[in-house]
Each structure stands twice: as C-alpha cells, then as structure tokens.
Amino acid sequence: MFEVIGLNQKNPFSFQLFAMPNIVRDVYLPTPNVSGGPSRVGMILFSSMSTGGGTEESWFKVYNDASPDPLSDGPDIALPFSAGADPVLAGMLPGVIIREGDANGMSDGAYFDAISVFASQNPGTDETENPITAGPCIVGLIAVAEE
C-alpha cells in the first residue's frame, strides 16, 4: 500500500493507493486533531488490471461502515466498471469525484464515518461474496479531516 498522510496539520489528509479485490474493511481515514470527527472523502479512483484479459462486468462498492457484511449490508455507493482490462493497455481508470453541501453552498468531498471497499461481480447487495477474479483492483482514495 502506498500512502501519503499529512499529520501535523489542523486538517490531516491522506492519499492512499491499495490493492483489492477482496473486501478491505476500515480503510484509514484521517481524523481531525481536536474534534476526532469524521473525514471528508473527495475522490475515489479505481482501476482493474487483468492477468488474462477477461471481460467480466463488475461493481465497485463503498460502505460507510468499518466492518460491513457484504451479504447483508447494502453498499452506500455501487458503481459498475469493466474488469479485466489488458494490463499492457493499463485498463480503465474510472473514478468518482464527490461534493456535498446544502442550500448554503457545496464543498469538495462527502463525509464518511468509516469506509470499506469491495470489487464484486454482483450488482446491488451481494448474495454470495464474489470478488472479481480478473486481476487486482487498485483503489486510490483522497480524504481530508475537518474540525
């Protein structure tokens, strides 16, 4: 796992890259130095690389939960992507940028209390835990903690 974590700041931030596809629970999120509150996640990047050029359709899932059970806990975010891209071509790098706010304005990122991620062959809530098989899935996540 590659990570950059800024700790000695009022608003700690993190940029992490890690490999999947099996479920990764309780991804590190920086916490504010004082309040210890939730973190705002601004960007999630995900890519898959195949060792065999498969074409299975897959879903990248994000849970606002430190320890979800994918067989019973519905994902908070679920996005389709095509696994199995040719590694020579570096495959796809889809990603999502999130903004959150209210009638008074919008800010980069949305709050998460905790994050777990999973790359599954099943849409929606998994009936069986079925991670993609076409190859590793690389996830990049940018988060900042605010007081």
């Binding site: 606002n64 519905g74 908070d76 889809p94 940028i97 999130i98 959150e100 209210d102 919008m106 809530t125």
Partner: protein, 140 residues
C-alpha cells in the same frame, strides 16, 4: 432537430443541451417515485440504444432526518427491492450530494428511484420529496 422523449411522467423535465450527441439535463422534482424507462422514444422515432450519465445531483434537503440512496436500473421495469440496481449513490440527511462519474446504461433503458435503504433491498421512499438531476448523453 432533437427528438422529444415520450411519456415523461409529471415532475420530470428534460432540457436538451445539444444534439450531437443528444445531451440532456433530466430534472426530477420528486425522485422518490419510481421512474420506469424514463428516457424513451415512441415510434416512429429511432429507439434509444445507449444512455450515459456523466453527472448526478441529489437534493435531500427536505429530509433532515433521513439518509437516502438513489438507485438506478438498466431495465425498463425493475422490481424495487428485488432487482439489483446497476448503480447506487448515497445522499446524507439534509444534504445535497453531487457525483461526477460516468455510468453507462447499454440497452437504452433507465429506471430509478430514491429510497431510504442502501443496497438492493428496501421499497420505502423518503418522507419528503428528493430532487434529482442527471446529466445524460443519449445515443439512438
């Protein structure tokens, strides 16, 4: 001239932005109601074969006590709570959330509904209206 979408339900408006490709902003003032096959061309207009959504905006400010999830299906007639959604996006209680991400609906069918349960299960809509806007590219 851009073709007009057929049979839009009350509360759903589609604003055509450009014609090559068909670029539209779909605005729904009450997305807690199930919208089936919402972008549709009645014959003799050519059928829609692909829908690409490149931006999502969920306005849940009227529900300060309920998190909601926008669920989108790529079938014309999903069974809510049973048919697995093709995409799911969260909006926290009392908030507006925007997602910049491309989601493709090959086959040309788009159905959606905002519900108060994540994942596949759940059939209950939010207590108050949730406004949704989708930036769509439509190919015939």
């Amino acid at each position: 001239m851009a073709t007009v979408f057929s049979g839009l339900p009350a509360g759903v408006n589609v604003f055509n932005v450009a014609t090559l490709p068909l670029s539209n902003i779909l605005e729904d003032t009450n997305a807690g109601v199930l919208r089936k096959d919402v972008l549709y061309h009645a014959p003799p207009a050519p059928p829609i074969v692909t829908i690409q959504i490149v931006g999502f905006r969920i306005d849940n400010t009227l529900n300060p006590g309920q998190d909601v999830w926008l669920k989108l299906w790529r079938v014309a007639d999903p069974t809510v709570g049973v048919t697995a959604p093709h995409a799911i996006l969260r909006c926290r209680a009392g908030k507006i959330t925007e997602y910049a991400v491309q989601v493709d609906f090959g086959g040309g069918h788009l159905s959606y509904q905002v519900l108060i349960t994540p994942g596949t299960k759940g059939t209950t809509a939010p207590t108050n209206a949730v406004r949704v806007a989708l930036a769509c590219l439509v190919s015939e």
